[in-house]
Structure formats: structure tokens, C-alpha cells
Symmetry: C2
Subunit: 335 residues, 2 copies
């Protein structure tokens, strides 16, 4: 099958996602909160399992498969990640790890970024932040388990992300472990997600410029989405050109994600979103819609999608279909 840059209809995203999500869900279910005492594990699992689009893990795995597909014209018949033995995975990660080899790094990276995302939602929803009671159609963690347990569960999920990236054996090469921790820590911290949230807090009621809004979202949402792409790439081998192209793809996709989030906050209802709609306007937060207007924001999202697809075309990688389809899904989603 030929690589089809930017033509998502040539690629069965639903099938690809379903197959890969099975791996991610099984791994998360097996790993998260297993040995956590005193109800902490229950809160951690509630925060992570059985919910969410899992966009970040899919980006990790899609980027990993893209770099493993090699340079144009040298595509492998089957992407290695698709070869993970699901029966072995169900029977225990040790067996699966032995069989899957380097895929263990990509699967761990996929789960780790999702843990960081999940912890950020738990803390974001708390009364001192967004004070939200509904998430993915369920009561938020602090509503279900109390504020103290929500705080601890978020803290423990962040630590567990780094624990997942550093297995105590040679299934993942130490240099890859270190690189993944480096990328994730930077994307999650004060120059990434947490920093973006601080800007967000400080921006309520202010009139931001588009540059300031972009900077906020580049940190708050974009850094972890871009890191997902780059962590997937770090689990394989890619040249400098592909590396640069994937970074561009991740940056455009990360920003597009937020623009579309702002649009959906206005045009969708709570039932569709699985969270409270209209929150941004109600809390007087600056958004792309409030800054640009609805139609220009929608046009901007399409521009960013085109940038992401152009970056993939320039990557020189043989098979970027999953990445292309994910970008298309991000921009054209309805929830």
C-alpha cells in the first residue's frame, strides 16, 4: 500500500486506532494504581481508565510507526507496533515485552503521556482551579473521592508516568529511558503544561493578543501533544530532517487542537463534549473564538491542519498515514 500523505480517506483510522487503543487500554489497566494503598489506586484508575480519546498515546504510536517505516520507498510491509502480541499482553507484560522488543518503549511512552494528561485534568478540575464537576460524562475525581485524594492521585499519576518510562531492565535502552523522561518532564513542567496553566490563570479577564494566546496554548496544550509525537520518534530511529518535520507537525497539531477546543466550547453542547460547554465564555477566558470570531477561528484551524500535513510531506518518512489521519481527526472532530 502506498503512503498517502494528507489523504486521510485512504487510511482506515478507525481500524488503526482500535487496534492500538486496545494495547494502550490493556497496558494502562494492567499498570495503573496496582500497588497503591488506601484508596489511592482506585482514584488513580478512575482518573485514567475507561475514558478519553487517547489522542496523545495514538500520536506516540503513530510517530513511532512513522519513523520505523523508514525513508520514502523503503516502507516495511507491516508497522512493528501492529505486531505486538495481544495474547501475550493479556497474559502479562513481561511476556509481551519479551516478544515486542523495542515496542515496549513506545507502549510505555504512550501510557506515560496519557498519565500526565490525566493528572492534569484531575488537578484542573479541582475547586481551586476550574471547579468542574463533570468530565468525560462522569463526576470528576474530587467529586467522587474528595479533594485530598484527588490531589494525591494527580501527584501519584505524574510520578508514575516517569516510573513507567524507567523499567529496571534492558527492555528499554537506558539512553531511550533518559530521552523519554527528558522530553516528558519538559513538556509537563513550568516551560510546558504547568507554565501554560499559570498563564491561563493569570489571563482571566485580560485582553490577550493572538501572540499571547498562542504562547499560552503552545505551553498549556501544545507542549504535551508535540512531546507525544517526539517521544514516539525517540523510540525509533529518525534522521534530522524527519525529526524537524515531526516537530513542525506536532507544533501545528498542538495549536490546532486548542483552536478547535475553543470552537467546540462555543458550538457543542455538554452532552456531546462529555464536559461542561460554554465554560470559557462564562469564566471570561480569552479564546480563539473570542479573539478572532468563530469563522476566522475555523479557518485558522484548517490552516494549521494544512501546515501539519505539509510537514509530514516534507518528513521523507515512508508511511505517515496514521499521523495525517490523526491531524485530520483533531481538526474535524465534533467533541
Amino acid at each position: 500500500m502506498m503512503a498517502a500523505h494528507g489523504i486521510s480517506t485512504a487510511f482506515d483510522l478507525a481500524g488503526w486506532s482500535g487496534q492500538h487503543l486496545d494495547l494502550v487500554e490493556q497496558a494502562l489497566g494492567q499498570w495503573v494504581g496496582r500497588d497503591a494503598p488506601a484508596g489511592l489506586g482506585e482514584a488513580m484508575r478512575y482518573a485514567v481508565l475507561d475514558g478519553g480519546k487517547r489522542l496523545r498515546p495514538l500520536l506516540v504510536l503513530a510517530a513511532y510507526e512513522a519513523v520505523q517505516s523508514g525513508a520514502d520507498g523503503a516502507a516495511r510491509e507491516a508497522a512493528p507496533c501492529a505486531g505486538m502480541d495481544q495474547a501475550a499482553l493479556r497474559a502479562g507484560m513481561d511476556q509481551a515485552a519479551l516478544r515486542a522488543g523495542m515496542d515496549q518503549a513506545a507502549l510505555r511512552a504512550a501510557c506515560a503521556v496519557e498519565l500526565i494528561h490525566a493528572y492534569s485534568l484531575v488537578h484542573d478540575d479541582m475547586p481551586c482551579m476550574d471547579n468542574d464537576v463533570l468530565r468525560r460524562g462522569k463526576p470528576t475525581v474530587h467529586v467522587q473521592f474528595g479533594e485530598a485524594q484527588a490531589l494525591l492521585a494527580g501527584d501519584a499519576l505524574q510520578a508514575f508516568a516517569f516510573e513507567l518510562l524507567t523499567p529496571d531492565d534492558e527492555r528499554v535502552a537506558p539512553a531511550v529511558q533518559a530521552a523519554l523522561c527528558r522530553q516528558l518532564a519538559r513538556a509537563a513542567g513550568s516551560a510546558g503544561m504547568a507554565g501554560g496553566q499559570a498563564i491561563d490563570l493569570a489571563s482571566v479577564g485580560l485582553a490577550l493578543t493572538q501572540d499571547q494566546l498562542r504562547q499560552m496554548h503552545r505551553l498549556k496544550t501544545g507542549a504535551l501533544l508535540q512531546a507525544s509525537v517526539m517521544m514516539g520518534a525517540a523510540c525509533g530511529a529518525s534522521g534530522a530532517a524527519a525529526h524537524k518535520a515531526l516537530a513542525d507537525y506536532g507544533a501545528a497539531l498542538g495549536l490546532a487542537f486548542q483552536v478547535v477546543d475553543d470552537i467546540l466550547d462555543v458550538v457543542a453542547d455538554s452532552a456531546t463534549l462529555g464536559k461542561t460547554a460554554g465554560k470559557d465564555a462564562a469564566s471570561d477566558k480569552p479564546t480563539y473564538v473570542s479573539l478572532l470570531g468563530l469563522a476566522p477561528a475555523q479557518a485558522h484551524a484548517q490552516e494549521l491542519l494544512a501546515q501539519a500535513q505539509a510537514a509530514l510531506a516534507a518528513s521523507g518518512l515512508a508511511d505517515t498515514r496514521a499521523l495525517a489521519a490523526l491531524a485530520d481527526m483533531v481538526v474535524n472532530r465534533s467533541y
Copy 2:
């Protein structure tokens, strides 16, 4: 100078600590919150700088120097960490790093464990947890900066700990970076500090057995203290016997620290402690004093000190004086 296991009077702890604390304070001051936007950096620095006993960083550096001192009879003249160029450190970490070589790993590990400790205090003090307004004689972070900023500052400090451990160059070997992240993540997470806090939350008003109390503290406080010792050791080279002995030392010291904390909560006043005294009894938390009584708790602390010193004697390491003196200080401190 001969090694003097367990005889803290033979060792100038104040001089040793002062020299090493200078390095730690300079490094923290240079690294923490530097590029954090929107007031986040200020909150992070407030939480970390200019306060605290820095026990954990000192344990990292003492353990590092102990393993670098080699086996008994092969002690080096000067411990490598003492050779860090302070002028270079002031001039910029890059120069210091170049000159200090492998010491960079130990210094980063020392700062990283302190960041985890500092973040845990910020979150612990929040209204939904201990609701404490005084810490190290200053208003707590949420009192000073608001709850939302305190939550984010804690989150960002945890991420930054892992960022510090994973510099993007060869100053710290990738395998050491990975090992340090692994140890820190486990000590901080649900099978360590966060797990212990969850047990603590769930234990209010309950009658715990001594085993249950020990398990709670082994996780809540002991895991990070023990990890400090083991991370210091991981920055150097130690044999299996020394490794085991240092783990035993760290476990005994970690538990002793908490027993003494429980004692001080009863016998000291708030001005001396720099935090609110008598909180445990007021909040009906189980402690070693409530379980054993004051005098038996004090005797238990001395037993644990003897265990820690015995472990050092069994380590086969040439110079464990700093570790011995730190254990003595932990047990015989008055605040």
C-alpha cells in the same frame, strides 16, 4: 584522617554541611523557576529557596562521597564533591559542570530530591490536606500565592525534578539519568511518598498497629529519604555489599526521622519547629508517641540510630563519617 564509623564527634558535620549546602543552595537558586511564566516561577522559588534543613540533598551528597571513598583502606584524600569549583558554579552551571565532571549527577540528584520534598510540602499544606498556614516560619505557598498557584507550583516542581535529572548532554551518563529517574519516581509515587500520604489520610482517627504505622511512614517519609541515599550511591560505583548496607542505613534513618518528628510534635513549640506544633494530636493522627508513649518512642529512635550506624560499619566503605553524623543529627535534633 581515619574513617570513624558512628562517632559523629570525630567529624565536623557543621563544616561539611555548610560547604555542601552552599553548592546545593546555589544550584537551586540558579535552576528553579527560572523560565516559568506568570508568577509560577516566583511561587516555585518561594517553596524551595531559603528554607529547610536540606537533609535529603545532604544525604545524596554524603552517600555519593561514601561510595567514591572506595572500600576500607582505599580512602581518597579528598572527597570529589568537595572539589566542585564554587566560583565556576556561580559563573554558570555549564562551566561548573565541565569542571566537576561526574559530580554533576550528584548535585542534580541532590536538588531533585529536594524539589520532590518541597512540592510535597506545598501540596500537604493546602486546605484540602493539612490546611497549614505556617511553614519554616513563613506563610505557606497557598497563603502567599493562592491555592491555584500553589497546586501548579507543586506540580511544576515535581516535573522539574525529573528535568534536572535528565540534562541534554553527556555530563551525566544516560544510564545514570535513567537510574536516578527510576529511583526518584518510585520513591515519590503511589508505592512511596504519595502512597504514604494516602494511608495517612485514611488513618485519621483509627487505631493503627505499630506495623501499620511503620508501613505508613516507610512510604510517606522513609521512601524519599532512603532514595536520597541510594541516588547518591547510584552517582558513583558501589559493590553489592555496600549497596545493601546503604539501603539498610537509609531504611533505618528514614524511620528514625519520622519517630523523631512525632516526638518533636509533642515536645517542641511552633517557634522552634518553624511550623505548627501539636498538629498530630489535635487532628487525632496516629503517631509513635500516641502508640508507644513518649519515652519508648525516644528509645525506639535511638535503636534505629544504632541500626543505621551498624549498617554503615558493615558497608565496607572507607569513609562514611558524613552519613554517620547525619544519622546522629536526625535522631538528636531539636527541630
